[in-house]
């Protein structure tokens, strides 16, 4: 684990960067002068500025800061695995200036105090934390959480992530109630009666490996249920970490019918299949589980045609003690913030599945639109909220270079292309020592 160092330069000059905003299209070459976190000049060439910290953006891309709308920061409860601060460090290193921690903390983030605490903890970092609060008290699916109060505290959406909202009735009521405030319900789609005891996708591979399976249809059933509920409640529904071909198709059809349904996918679900589980390495255990090649193909198609709006990491830190066990005993989840760009570039952009601006759209404009957050603009007077990265920089994933407190990822040793060079937000500057 690396310790992060943020700077607070009074004057910061970014030279020769190619600025690419998916809201504008087409990169343009700019120099940007920032004073105390605010953009003061955006010109083709800025010279002769005294006392400014200068970053050379030659050969790199400058974009609006990225947002990961699905992370787990484990605070409160499991500060040994991650804290808001260490999670923000990992987000920064991954190029994200915004992150949405899920409410499955211990205790669950179902009170305003916890939401406000999370936001406050991110203060000394370049990351804006937008918490997602529990949809039901304790994520137990019996009583609605105090949504109005939670929104006032800073919550931007509601979810019982880790599980689906337990019953159809409670999901309906959560949607109805949330729709009053125009905030989305984010659903972890899993019908628990079909996945109990499961450890991996139910498929030919689980049959071969003798691991209890979690059928894809358990996800599809809840996706279908909630799409139907959207239809009667008018609430906005966002499907978290979609993983099956059938669910992608259900979302596609819902969108065609004009329903307010969006969805996200994780980098591991567009990169890996359940074949990878054959090693019984617990770093390949996540929920939803890795699915089949057919599902991966459908996900890539869904990303390309816009059915899948967002790429979010589902960054889920776990301690080595928890993960370094036999597969069935290990908890679900892997970290993802610091490998997201590399996987997006290597798995989606380079093979030509997505153009770079399409991929960037899914980590900037799209999640902010769903959460009704303002999109950072490169204009005088605006807060500088920027990510500078080298889309071609090749690097090898090493546990010792992570800023996250945890290292549970199957991508250790992978060679990826695309690495973040610098992040600017809230007056802070972080420059990667590794590029």
């Amino acid at each position: 684990m690396q310790t992060i160092k943020y700077q607070k330069p009074e004057r910061l000059l970014i030279k020769n960067a190619n600025y690419l905003d998916p809201a504008e299209g087409g990169p343009r070459q700019v120099d940007v002068l920032i004073e105390n976190g605010t953009i003061v000049r955006v010109e083709h060439a800025i010279d002769g500025v005294d006392g400014a910290e200068t970053i050379d953006g030659t050969g790199k891309l400058l974009t609006p800061g990225w947002l990961d709308m699905h992370v787990h920061f484990r605070e409160p409860g499991r500060e040994d695995e991650e804290t808001v601060k260490s999670g923000c460090a990992a987000a920064t290193a991954g190029g994200f200036t915004g992150a949405c921690p899920m409410p499955n903390t211990e205790p669950a983030a179902d009170t305003r105090g916890i939401i406000e605490y999370m936001i406050a903890e991110a203060k000394g970092t370049p990351v804006d934390v937008y918490p997602i609060a529990a949809a039901t008290k304790g994520r137990k699916g019996r009583e609605l959480s105090e949504m109005a109060d939670l929104i006032e505290g800073g919550a931007v959406a509601f979810s019982d992530d880790g599980v689906a909202i337990a019953t159809a009735e409670m999901a309906r009521r959560a949607m109805e109630y949330a729709s009053m405030f125009d905030v989305p319900i984010i659903e972890h789609c899993e019908e628990p009666s079909m996945t109990e005891g499961g450890a991996m996708n139910e498929s030919a591979v689980s049959t071969r490996l003798g691991l209890p399976g979690m059928p894809g249809v358990a996800e599809d059933i809840i996706v279908a249920r909630d799409i139907l509920l959207t239809e009667i409640t008018g609430a906005r529904l966002h499907i978290a970490h979609i993983s099956t071909a059938r669910s992608v198709e259900l979302v596609r059809q819902a969108k065609q019918r004009g329903l307010p349904v969006t969805c996200e996918v994780t980098p591991h679900h567009f990169t890996l299949t359940d074949e990878a589980v054959a090693s019984y390495d617990a770093n390949l255990k996540m929920n939803p589980p890795l699915r089949t090649q057919n599902d991966v193909d459908a996900i890539i198609e869904g990303l390309a045609d816009g059915t899948i709006d967002v790429i979010a990491t589902d960054h889920a830190p776990h301690s080595p003690e928890e993960k370094d066990v036999e597969f069935q005993a290990a908890p679900f989840g892997i970290i993802g913030l610091e490998t997201a760009l590399g996987l997006i570039m290597t798995q989606l952009v380079e093979p030509g599945h997505l153009r770079l601006e399409e991929a960037l759209h899914k980590i900037t404009l799209a999640p902010r639109n769903i959460l009704r957050l303002p999109h950072p603009k490169l204009a005088v007077g605006q807060v500088a909220n920027l990510t500078l990265f080298d889309p071609k920089h090749e690097w090898t994933v090493e546990a010792s270079r992570f800023y996250s407190k945890s290292r549970n990822t199957p991508f250790l040793g992978w060679t990826l292309r695309g690495r973040v060079h610098a992040v600017i937000n809230k007056g802070f500057l972080w420059v990667s020592p590794d590029v």
């Binding site: 689980s206 003798g210 019984y280 036999e326 597969f327 069935q328």
Partner: protein, 307 residues
């Protein structure tokens, strides 16, 4: 030859043939006045049983003693939550005690694979969850080979709860490698998804399986599966999938009947059929010791994974 025996999937035919050939040599030794050889004198083998299993443990222990190895038994079966903890802690102890070989039985598929990442000793899988039970399949194959002479072309139907059966999986891999044809037969709820990808015949009717097969490997049906809704009752199972003399007579066939034990008499197999001329169940028990001696012997000398 691989250093460990984690399963039969991917084990080449030559290696299975060597194990079986060696097992027949050890079977001769077991018939001597003093059925014990000093082969593994000074070697220490730990039997790690995280799941209760009298038969397999005794068979391994006897095989180890017949080879003059020093054996240590570790039995534990904690709650499922504690299992991970227990295995890792136990492994640390084994490392400190410098064991040469570890025989492991665990309720989690892949637990032996996890073990190989933690220790240097050779690991023998004595059954991991519903994944594999390679020595059981080897002894089944030895018994068939002894009775029939060859495995090539033999038709073996595995009957019962295939979904939860490590015996079925190891037999499928091993028998197919040896050129036998394999079928599985059981209620649809107890056949795993995409089982056809194994390249096996699938029967939902026991009479069809009997007509097809030269040998039946009848698995134990476990009552707790009924409680999880996978089949309605033992009575219905016995009536529709139980192997009976009447069914064999109707098919007019001399089948070989195997069973990995322990038998639910009168349920998966008719009471007297288990002791009949069709049955090789006791041969399986004897051969189990010989096969385990062969595996322990062949893995004992392997300090590296050899090509």
């Amino acid at each position: 030859m691989q250093k460990h025996l984690l399963g039969l999937e991917g084990v080449p035919r030559e290696e299975i043939e060597l194990i079986l050939k060696t097992a027949f040599s050890f079977k001769e030794i077991l018939s001597r006045p003093i059925p014990k050889v000093p082969t593994l004198r000074g070697k220490t083998i730990v039997n790690l049983f995280f799941e209760p299993s009298t038969r397999t443990r005794i068979s391994f222990e006897l095989a180890e003693k017949r080879l003059s190895a020093d054996t240590v038994n570790f039995s534990a079966s904690g709650s499922s939550v504690q299992k991970g903890e227990t295995l890792r802690d136990t492994i640390r102890n084994i490392e400190a005690m410098k064991m040469d070989m570890v025989v492991i039985r665990h309720s989690a598929a892949g637990a032996p694979h996890f073990l190989t990442r933690c220790i240097d000793a050779a690991v023998i899988n004595a059954g991991d969850g519903r994944h594999e039970h390679p020595t059981q399949a080897l002894l089944d194959m030895m018994t068939l080979q002894e009775r029939v002479g060859k495995l090539e072309g033999l038709k073996v139907a595995i009957v019962g709860d295939i979904l939860h059966s490590r015996v079925a999986r190891s037999n499928i891999y091993g028998l197919q490698t040896m050129g036998a044809e394999v079928a599985i037969c059981g209620p649809k709820t107890l056949i795993p998804v995409e089982a056809d990808q194994w390249g096996v015949e699938i029967f939902y009717n026991i009479d069809d399986a009997i007509r097809w097969a030269d040998a039946l490997n009848v698995l134990r049906i476990q009552l707790e599966r009924q409680r999880t809704g996978l089949f309605p009752s033992l009575r219905e199972y016995a009536a529709h999938f139980g192997v009976t003399r009447a069914r064999l007579e109707a098919a007019q066939k001399d089948l070989i009947i195997m069973h990995p034990g322990p038998i639910n008499r009168g349920i998966e197999i008719e009471n007297d059929l288990a002791d009949s001329e069709f049955s090789v169940i006791l041969n399986q028990v004897t051969n189990g010791v010989a096969v385990r001696m062969a595996v322990l012997y062949l893995k004992s000398g392997v300090t590296e994974t050899l090509e």
